[in-house]
């Protein structure tokens, strides 16, 4: 009888243990599922808001174009006005392409090695990528304008950007939309820690009067001879 009771107690305790373990695991799985689910919802909301804003801007541009067309058809716009408008559009395209020296608010990031080792191109690339992620509009490394086809390559103790030799310290300038400038600063704070690990001293400062020179327009950097426009 005593044996039977003890056996029963053992079985019950065993079951209890199993149930506790199950409970613990299911709570854990549920929590991680909930976190994942929330992440997906957040991502979707961000994507949706961005898409909606993009559509609004497209609609705005469409309205503008329709007005332009109307004016062109009815001859409301004089030929001179048409020429002015085209000149303005081309100037904006030149600014976008980096063909104009520009001024604006932004940040200046200076990288300097604290030991004798040369700074790696990857570190500069990482900084540039983070700055792009923070919506900057113009970039330069030691006043070499960074455009879509600019490379950053280390060669010994110096860096080659746009085919030109640059010596350390590397001064990276970025101009951003003032409203989004704080983004850039926050994003950069994360990179500083990473660079410290590579013995690179990073100095970040805000500047309201950053000047970024135009890209050298001698046919060596901006090249499109191999591109055929497709209609």
């Amino acid at each position: 009888m005593k044996f039977f009771k003890e056996a029963a107690l053992t079985v019950v305790c065993l079951l209890l243990g199993i149930v506790i373990a199950m409970q613990y695991r299911s709570v854990k799985v549920n929590t991680s599922l909930a976190v994942y689910e929330q992440q997906r919802v957040n991502d979707l909301i961000i994507d949706l808001l961005r898409e909606q804003e993009n559509n609004q801007q497209l609609q705005k541009r469409i309205d503008e174009l329709q007005r332009d067309l109307e004016n062109l058809r009815t001859g409301t716009n004089t030929e001179n006005e048409t020429i002015q408008a085209l000149r303005k559009e081309n100037e904006q395209l030149e600014i976008l392409a980096g063909l104009k020296t520009v001024k604006g608010k932004g940040i200046i990031v200076t990288l300097e090695s604290t030991d004798k080792t040369a700074i790696d191109d990857n570190n500069i690339l990482a900084v540039l990528n983070e700055l792009r992620a923070a919506d900057v509009q113009a970039l330069a490394v030691n006043d070499e304008r960074i455009i879509a086809t600019s490379e950053v390559r280390r060669a010994g103790s110096y860096m080659i950007v746009n085919g030109r030799k640059l010596l350390p310290p590397y001064v990276i300038k970025a101009i951003a939309d003032p409203e989004k400038l704080e983004n850039s600063l926050t994003v950069m704070a994360g990179v500083v820690d990473m660079l410290k690990y590579y013995n690179i001293k990073v100095d970040i400062k805000k500047d309201d009067n950053i000047i970024i020179p135009a890209v050298r327009d001698d046919g060596t950097i901006i090249r499109y001879d191999l591109l055929t426009p497709v209609d």
């Binding site: 107690l9 019950v12 305790c13 209890l16 149930v19 299911s26 709570v27 549920n30 689910e37 991502d43 979707l44 909301i45 994507d47 949706l48 961005r50 898409e51 909606q52 993009n54 559509n55 801007q57 497209l58 541009r61 174009l65 062109l72 030929e79 020429i83 085209l86 559009e89 395209l93 030149e94 976008l96 392409a97 020296t101 520009v102 001024k103 604006g104 932004g106 191109d121 990857n122 690339l125 990528n129 792009r132 992620a133 919506d135 509009q137 970039l139 960074i146 455009i147 879509a148 086809t149 490379e151 090249r223 499109y224 001879d225 191999l226 591109l227 055929t228 426009p229 497709v230 209609d231």
Partner: protein, 240 residues
């Protein structure tokens, strides 16, 4: 003997409580999951709709732009050559800025995460943003004139960074595989990528890197098209 009964009582009490708790957790979790799932579904549907609307708007915009250019050409042909000159300049600047679809020969690089293996840190099996950054840099150094990732044109300020298992390029999210297209000299581009240190390391970790030379590649224009003003809103021209 009394003692044993007491213990048994407590044990059964606990047992009962746990069974109830477990039951409730499962029930609750199911409800939560269903709620989350339906939210994800409705958001996904809304996003798809916004995207397809965006595509329609972009098509309309491009049609109107073309129409406008045609009218201007007509005016120019009727006796104002300056307009044609400005239009030609505009097209050239569109090509430089990645605002035109372009064709040419070059390379196509396809990247895929390494197959999952237990003995390795999963961090080493996936493609990181710096891997992409390095490959783009190699292509640029080898003279690539136009680059796209998953048909997202890379322009000066293109953002590209990984967010978990996806990559965010020009504000659009893509899962693997990542397809990088570059127009330039196919041999130079191929050799530069093939011999690049980052690519060799990726291959060691079994990340799938496929590099192909192609005689005809089409790279689409920058799609996240807003008006240009927005892209240069913080820039003021300095006359020299």
């Amino acid at each position: 003997m009394r003692n044993a009964k007491g213990v048994l009582f407590v044990v059964f009490l606990l047992f009962g409580m746990f069974v109830t708790m477990q039951f409730r957790t499962v029930l609750l979790a199911q409800q939560q999951n269903a709620a989350g799932e339906s939210q994800v579904q409705s958001l996904t549907a809304e996003l798809e709709q916004a995207k397809s609307e965006g595509i329609k708007l972009l098509e309309k915009l491009q049609k109107l732009e073309k129409e406008k250019d045609e009218i201007m050409r007509q005016i120019s042909n009727d006796g104002n050559p300056v307009i044609n000159e400005l239009l030609d300049k505009k097209y050239e600047l569109h090509v430089i800025n990645g605002l035109t679809d372009v064709r040419g020969s070059g390379v196509i690089i396809t990247l895929n995460d390494a197959p999952a293996r237990n003995e390795m840190d999963p961090e080493q099996l996936i493609i990181h943003d710096m891997d992409i950054v390095k490959i783009l840099n190699v292509l640029r150094a080898a003279g690539a004139q136009a680059i796209a990732i998953n048909d997202e044109r890379i322009i000066t300020t293109s953002r590209h960074f990984c967010a978990g298992p996806t990559i965010l390029i020009n504000q659009n999210r893509y899962p693997v595989p990542y397809v990088i297209k570059a127009i330039g000299d196919p041999d130079e581009l191929y050799n530069a990528v093939e011999q690049n240190e980052a690519v060799i390391i990726m291959k060691i970790y079994d990340i799938q890197v496929d590099i192909r030379k192609e005689s005809e590649i089409i790279i689409p224009k920058y799609k996240t098209y807003k008006n240009i003003e927005n892209m240069i809103s913080g820039l003021e021209v300095v006359e020299k």
